[in-house]
């Protein structure tokens, strides 16, 4: 395993990231980066691309690009004013990003940020200070910017020196959380934290799509003037100009939230993130052949280790572990008209209900994949959660739902939590949405007057006791090798083996890499596969249907990839057939066993 720092020669790594560094440590109008998901797209806006100042003595043409607020008075009548267009995206941190991703990307950037952070922590505060003082408003902007910290304690600390007081003020976390509570930041998943950003895009915004994951490099704008403008408007403008008050209060709140909460980021460059695993270089793999070849050779051995680990986790069931690996590296790689290819939804049935097994299983998965979310399918959740994003026309925004996820996010559906009871309308809709997600890898966003289909690429893993009520590509019935009485003990022991982090990192890298590999199939093997199918059908037409064959092809593909092979070999094909047979016989056994018990 190469050291994770070896390939970070990325000069852009020096740029502080909004994901890691708290907003108040960052210098306004400086270059920052932000790893995010495009949650909503607002309407394009026209801005002054160039304008002239009003003061005749200093009449110069200024550039309005990459800024929210103009400097000095603007000569609105100047002929030189240029109107330009830009687009605003509402971006949130990648939903369901697991803690280890944050830690590692922080530590990777750490070498540079270690230098940056302490300095910025002081510099910007002084900057801000002076900025405000220049603004000649000694109380006004502060009141607006810090409405929650309370003025009195601050004025007490004032004499202790500028720097200290600033630190205290800016560090106060309460200010963030309290204000966040009455401003819904619209994260897709409940309980998410982190800054959301209004990203202003200056060119080529048509190339971005909703739910794209990006790393945005841009100029941070947290000008207090922005929120000041908004607040003032709230208070006084309603009578002055009917045109402006027509934007509803909600819309105002959503489209121009206080900059201290939702900073503006003026995009200079955006790097699309095909994955958000910090261990894997984000540059295209072809450019990194050395890295690729070294890791590819290791893949088979890492796979064995991972298989052993997962077998252990899955109560000694090696077959289920095999399928879990296939599931974890699956990804929709193409679509043929409506049919998504490469998806591999796994239903692990027969999960023990004792000792919150599913929860532990999820925790393990969380350790392995960059993004994941566990949806407990309790009746209450199904009836109440908003899974499908919905357009709110009052506030003119897309209210997010739990299914608005980045590509390759692992969605863990815990069906063991489901109990008997009545599903209401929302519940039925939610179940339908999950079904659509699994079958077609798409989510129909609710636009009130119509629905709009957004394709997605989410790995769905269903843990259930019996066969899941949701469709799935493949069902594996768990056969625990652990006797029920020892289950408790065994389960608690799983966590007693905290994998060495280097080991975990290997697994993480392995899973992300296997997913990005190319795959092909040679003509000979194609022929062999076809013959095989015909033969199988000849013996017993019932033994394999077209659907089974579909699945077999996917399994073969994933199996090859999991071994680091980029084309299908005869061996892998046989192996795929073998594990499929094992799985099917197990499922049949299980069914017979259920039927046998029933009458």
């Amino acid at each position: 395993m190469p050291s994770t720092h070896d390939w970070i020669n990325n000069p852009l790594g020096v740029v502080p990231s909004l994901n890691d560094v708290p907003l108040h440590y960052l210098k306004p109008n400086s270059l920052v980066r932000f790893r995010c998901l495009i949650q909503d797209m607002f309407d394009p806006e026209f801005y002054m691309g160039a304008y002239e100042t009003v003061d005749p003595s200093t009449k110069v043409l200024r550039c309005g690009k990459y800024k929210d607020v103009t400097e000095c008075g603007v000569d609105l009548n100047s002929r030189n004013t240029v109107t330009a267009e830009r687009q605003t995206f509402y971006c949130v941190p990648i939903p369901g990003e697991n803690p280890w991703v944050k830690e590692i990307s922080f530590s990777l950037a750490g070498s540079s940020q270690a230098r940056v952070v302490p300095s910025t922590s002081y510099v910007p505060s002084r900057q801000k200070r002076s900025y405000e003082e220049d603004d000649d408003m000694d109380t006004q902007p502060q009141k607006q910017r810090e409405p929650h910290t309370g003025m009195s304690p601050q004025s007490h600390t004032e004499p202790h020196g500028n720097g200290d007081c600033k630190r205290q003020e800016t560090e106060a976390p309460s200010s963030q959380t309290t204000s966040a509570s009455h401003l819904d930041l619209n994260f897709p998943l409940p309980g998410e934290k982190g800054p959301s950003c209004l990203v202003k895009v200056y060119e080529d915004w048509d190339s971005f799509k909703l739910n794209d994951t990006l790393e945005v490099y841009g100029i941070l704008s947290v000008s207090p003037a922005l929120s000041a403008l908004a607040e003032e408007k709230d208070a006084s403008s309603s009578l002055l100009d009917p045109a402006e008050c027509m934007e509803t209060a909600e819309e105002q709140r959503v489209h121009s939230p206080p900059a201290s909460l939702v900073p503006r980021l003026h995009m200079i460059y955006a790097k699309p993130l095909p994955h958000c695993n910090p261990l894997l270089p984000s540059a295209a793999l072809e450019d990194n052949s050395a890295f690729l070849s070294s890791t590819l050779s290791e893949m088979a051995s890492v796979r064995t280790e991972l298989l052993a680990y997962l077998t252990h986790v899955l109560l000694g069931d090696a077959l289920a572990a095999e399928y879990l690996i296939l599931h974890l590296i699956s990804s929709v790689y193409a679509r043929r008209d409506v049919l998504p290819l490469g998806k591999f939804t796994l239903n692990v049935s027969g999960c023990p209900t004792v000792a919150s097994y599913t929860e532990r299983l999820y925790q393990i998965i969380q350790q392995l994949v960059p993004c994941s979310y566990r949806l407990s399918m309790s009746l209450q959740n199904m009836n109440q959660l908003r899974l499908v994003p919905k357009k709110d026309y009052v506030a003119n925004r897309l209210v997010s739902g739990a299914l608005q996820l980045a590509r390759n996010t692992s969605l863990f559906l815990d069906e063991t939590q489901l109990e008997q009871g009545q599903l209401d309308t929302t519940g039925v809709r939610n179940i339908t949405a999950l079904g659509n997600l699994i079958s077609w890898q798409k989510v129909d966003y609710d636009f009130n007057y119509h629905q709009m289909e957004f394709p997605c690429n989410i790995n769905v893993l269903i843990a259930s006791e019996g066969r899941s009520l949701l469709p799935s590509d493949c069902q594996v019935h768990l056969q625990p090798q652990v006797a029920p009485p020892q289950m408790e003990e065994y389960l608690s022991a799983i966590h007693m083996h905290p994998q060495a982090s280097s080991q975990l990192n290997k697994f993480r890298l392995y899973l992300s890499l296997a997913r990005t590999l190319d795959y092909s199939i040679s003509d000979e093997v194609t022929k062999a596969v076809e013959d095989d199918f015909v033969d199988m059908r000849k013996d017993d037409p019932q033994s394999i249907s077209a659907e089974d064959f579909h699945r077999l092809l996917v399994v073969a593909r994933l199996l090859s990839l999991s071994l680091g092979q980029t084309s299908l070999s005869r061996d892998s094909w046989m192996r795929a057939k073998h594990i499929e047979t094992l799985r099917r016989s197990r499922t049949e056994q299980q069914q017979q066993c259920v039927n046998g018990n029933e009458p």
Binding site: M41, P44, E45, F46, Y47, M48, G64, D68, V69, T70, D75, L76, N77, S78, R79, N80, T81, V82, T83, K209, N211, S223, A225, L226, A228, L229, L240, D241, P242, A243, E244, M246, A334, R336, D337, V338, L339, L341, V394, L398, I431, G435, S439, W440, F447, Y449, M452, I521, T526, E530, F533, V534, R537, K538, P541, S545, A546, E547, F549, L553
Partner: protein, 846 residues
């Protein structure tokens, strides 16, 4: 364009003469006093070219309430656009807030700008040899007016298809007839199709698009002159206003950009929100508290300059605003969202704010699809006097001049929407070329869902369903509309890609709905009444069937649907309407939808020993409403398997490009269908009708030999529809024998698959129409007779044990008698009033 840029910056430089209205008020009556927006002609002499124009040279002392410095010696003259006529009795002018009111005129710094203004305007004028133009434009009021009058008097469009022109003589000047209409009806609005203007005078059109704010008032002026010349005695509510529409620069909301600011645009979209009515003050009425002297002040940039001194008695601060004598205009904010069709995939729709004024208020409702013609505006964010920094963003909106609902006509006539969809010449050419190919039918059907293997006949059936039959109207003779939609049911083993086929169709058609029988209730399919939380009004919300009017409703898991839900389909599938009586709302909605349903067999695997009805357990009344019922089964033979395997493997491993070469593009297919549905209405020719008659008679004959009826009139109708659809596929206006042949073939194929009596192997339509094959019915009768004999043989026992009787009958009969059969026999006898069954005993009657 004569002006260098068309940014708000340019606009801002336009002089707006701030002569105080109170001065005007003293000199001119209110109706003539209103100024024409911010269009002033700089310091040019009054215009000689427009004699009827009321020229106001405000030689009044410059009241400089807004400017601290006295004005230069320039006296701008104004063209009063909104009240051009003197001596028009009884017809007041009316402000046009839609063209932008003075309110929006930006502040002018006279110091810096005036010299510039002079230069520009004068040079403009000089170059053109004293040709006077409105400042900032190249519009000469006189010429423009003349041109427009000429247009009104001469424009003829003999090929007009617009329904607005219905009833007009197409060979007479179109707009003169419309003026005549106005004089009769009294609705002082003249809608002008910009396309007509363009074809008549491209230059005028260009001016209209580029300077709507100046040109439209000129048009108003022109049309009013013309109108009152012709109809001097008419009295209208207010002067005629010209409403241009269909500016050819029709755009999608996404493509609006800064260049469009202040231009006339037409965009299409869907209304998503409307605000309440906003009264906007146009003119404030002040009265002096001391001497009761009245004065009027016009709203200037959204503000009212309250006169500080009464001009009559010189008291300061004595004037009070009298609300109910002030003049207000109506205004409404409308939010419009891009229509879903215009959007690129993976993006969210854009929205635009539209302001509607006066009588356009409340013209549209949320949910309406509209084409809006209006002027695109960008207003800088309000400058905060206390802050030197402003947000460098403009607010944009559209001042609506004309609304045109795109889906309005759908209620009355069909295919209006499809007509909106314009096909370019090239496209039509490609489509026609495609249609001319002899194998177009095969080509199209193989292009349908290429990822699904084979099932050629099913794909053909679905293809015909997509095209549909010809709509026939028999309402004159009382039968109403004949169904033109083709309904198809697919049933078969699970995992035979039925759902995938449904998904494909759903994605292909513009008005498709996809529901699953499991998840939908009767309400979700039809319509339900909801209380709007805001207005407390009852609102009718339409369900999937109504939403897919003129489209296809795909229903998956048809068998899982509750009976209750299925029952609503009866009406939809034959009458093509939905009747609703709920919460005091009684109505009948159109649901001219084709239904494509998929059902799984009851026993999860198709039982070849049972009939279709027995396999899917659907009421036969419903089944008979399907034109085609296909079975999707695994054929299970080696050659098929090999092809299937190859297909699947290549599906997974072929590159995208390779696949695309093989098949028709989905968009071509879409266009092809849309074109055929819109323009092709095939009718039966003589031979075809003969062929149909023969086919029908043959079908009846097949059965008659064995005492069965194998065809009903419904099947004949199905045949006709299929034949028509096939003719549409060929882009043929005539249904010919080949169409009938294919319809027959397909119908037979479908029958063979679904209506074969498993006991005899014959095609028997009565399986579908009565739910039972003729042999089964015969057998039932036999059992009943045998049972009757048995009972009679028992002698005069008034009551018997049920189980006993069953055993007896079983012992007596040679063939196996199932419990169901026995019960059916009992029921048959009970129907004859021979016996009754109560619990476990059977009693004889009489």
């Amino acid at each position: 364009m004569s002006s260098p840029t068309s940014t708000p910056g340019r606009k801002r430089a336009r002089t707006d003469n701030p002569s105080t209205p109170s001065n005007d008020a003293a000199t001119s009556p209110p109706s003539q006093r209103r100024r024409g927006q911010d269009s002033s002609t700089g310091e040019l002499p009054p215009m000689p070219t427009s004699p009827a124009t009321d020229m106001l040279s405000p030689a009044v002392p410059q009241d400089t309430s807004l400017f601290s410095s006295p004005r230069h010696s320039v006296l701008p003259s104004e063209v009063d656009m909104s009240s051009p006529l003197i001596g028009v009795r009884g017809t007041p002018a009316r402000q046009r807030p839609d063209l932008g009111s003075v309110r929006k005129a930006p502040q002018v710094d006279l110091h810096s700008d005036l010299p510039n203004d002079d230069g520009a305007a004068v040079s403009d004028g000089q170059n053109a040899g004293q040709r006077l133009v409105i400042w900032g434009t190249d519009v000469n009021v006189g010429t423009c007016k003349e041109k427009f009058q000429r247009f009104l008097q001469r424009f003829i469009d003999p090929n007009s298809t617009e329904d607005e022109n219905a009833g007009l003589d197409l060979n007479e000047p179109l707009y003169m007839q419309k003026l005549e209409e106005i004089s009769v009806v009294g609705d002082p609005v003249l809608n002008v199709n910009c396309g007509h203007v363009q074809s008549f005078d491209a230059e005028l059109y260009r001016q209209l698009i580029c300077y709507p704010q100046e040109v439209i008032p000129t048009f108003d002026m022109a049309v009013n002159e013309l109108f009152f010349e012709r109809f001097p005695d008419s009295i209208l509510e207010h002067q005629i206003q010209v409403r241009p529409y269909n500016a050819l620069k029709t755009r999608n909301m996404r493509s609006l950009n800064p260049e469009d600011i202040d231009q006339l645009i037409t965009i299409s979209g869907m209304v998503i929100r409307t605000s309440q009515l906003i009264p906007e003050m146009q003119e404030a009425f002040f009265q002096c508290q001391v001497c009761a002297y009245n004065t009027r002040v016009e709203v200037d940039r959204g503000r009212i300059a309250e006169p500080a001194v009464c001009r009559n008695c010189n008291t300061t601060h004595s004037l009070a605003l009298i609300h109910n004598r002030s003049v207000f205009s109506d205004k409404q904010m409308i939010k419009v969202q891009e229509s879903p069709e215009d959007m690129p995939a993976g993006q969210t729709p854009h929205t635009t704010v539209v302001y509607a004024h006066n009588d356009l208020v409340d013209k549209v409702q949320p949910g309406d699809r509209v084409n809006i013609t209006g002027i695109y505006r960008a207003v800088p964010m309000r400058v905060n006097p206390r802050q030197s920094n402003v947000k460098s963003v403009y607010k944009t909106h559209i001042d609506a001049i004309h609304f045109r609902k795109t889906d309005e006509k759908r209620l009355h006539r069909l295919d209006e929407e499809a007509e909106q969809k314009l096909f370019t010449e090239d496209r039509v050419q490609t489509l026609k070329e495609l249609a001319a190919k002899p194998d177009v039918y095969e080509r199209l059907s193989s292009a349908l869902a290429p990822s699904i293997y084979e099932h050629e006949d099913i794909k053909k059936g679905i293809l015909l369903q997509l095209f549909g039959g010809t709509r026939k109207d028999f309402s004159q003779t009382g039968r109403g509309n004949f169904r033109a939609e083709i309904n198809i049911l697919l049933c078969g083993d699970p995992g035979t890609s039925k759902s995938q086929l449904l998904q494909y169709v759903f994605n292909l058609v513009p008005r498709g709905q996809y529901t699953s029988g499991k998840g939908s209730s009767a309400v979700g399919l039809t319509a339900y009444v909801m209380k709007d939380p805001e207005t407390r009004q009852l609102v009718l919300q339409t369900g999937a069937l109504v939403l897919s009017d003129n489209g296809i409703c795909c229903i998956d898991e048809f068998d899982k649907m509750s009976d209750n839900t299925r029952s609503v389909l009866h009406e939809v599938m034959e009458q093509q309407t939905l009747s609703i009586a709920k919460a005091g709302i009684i109505c009948q909605l159109n649901a001219r939808t084709s239904i494509l349903a998929a059902a799984n067999p009851v026993e999860s695997q198709w039982n070849p020993k049972k009939t279709t009805i027995e396999n899917i357990q659907l009421p036969h009344t419903l089944l008979s409403r399907f034109d085609l019922i296909f079975l999707m089964l695994d054929p299970q033979d080696e050659a098929y398997d090999r092809r299937l395997a190859h297909h699947l493997v290549s599906l997974y491993y072929q590159s995208e490009e390779q696949l695309e070469e093989e098949f028709l593009d989905m968009t071509v297919l879409k266009d092809y269908i849309a074109y055929a549905r819109t323009y092709i209405n095939p009718r039966l020719n003589e031979e075809a009708s003969q062929a149909l008659i023969e086919a029908y008679v043959d079908m009846r004959k097949i059965g008659s030999g064995r005492g069965m009826v194998s065809a009903y009139p419904r099947q004949l109708e199905s045949l006709i529809r299929l034949a028509e659809a096939h003719a549409k596929v060929r882009f043929s206006d005539k249904v010919e024998t080949i169409d009938v042949e294919e319809a027959k073939r397909l119908h037979r194929e479908a029958l063979k698959q679904s209506a074969t009596d498993p006991r005899t192997g014959f095609v028997d339509i009565s399986i579908l129409t009565t739910g039972m094959s003729a042999t089964a019915r015969k057998r039932k009768e036999e059992v009943a007779q045998a049972l009757k004999k048995l009972i009679q043989a028992k002698g005069k026992t008034p009551a018997m044990k049920y189980q006993q009787l069953f055993d007896d009958l079983r012992g007596q009969s040679e063939t196996a008698i199932t419990k169901e059969l026995f019960e059916e026999a009992l029921r048959a006898l009970a129907d004859e009033d021979y016996l009754t069954v109560t619990g476990k005993t059977v009693r004889l009657l009489a």
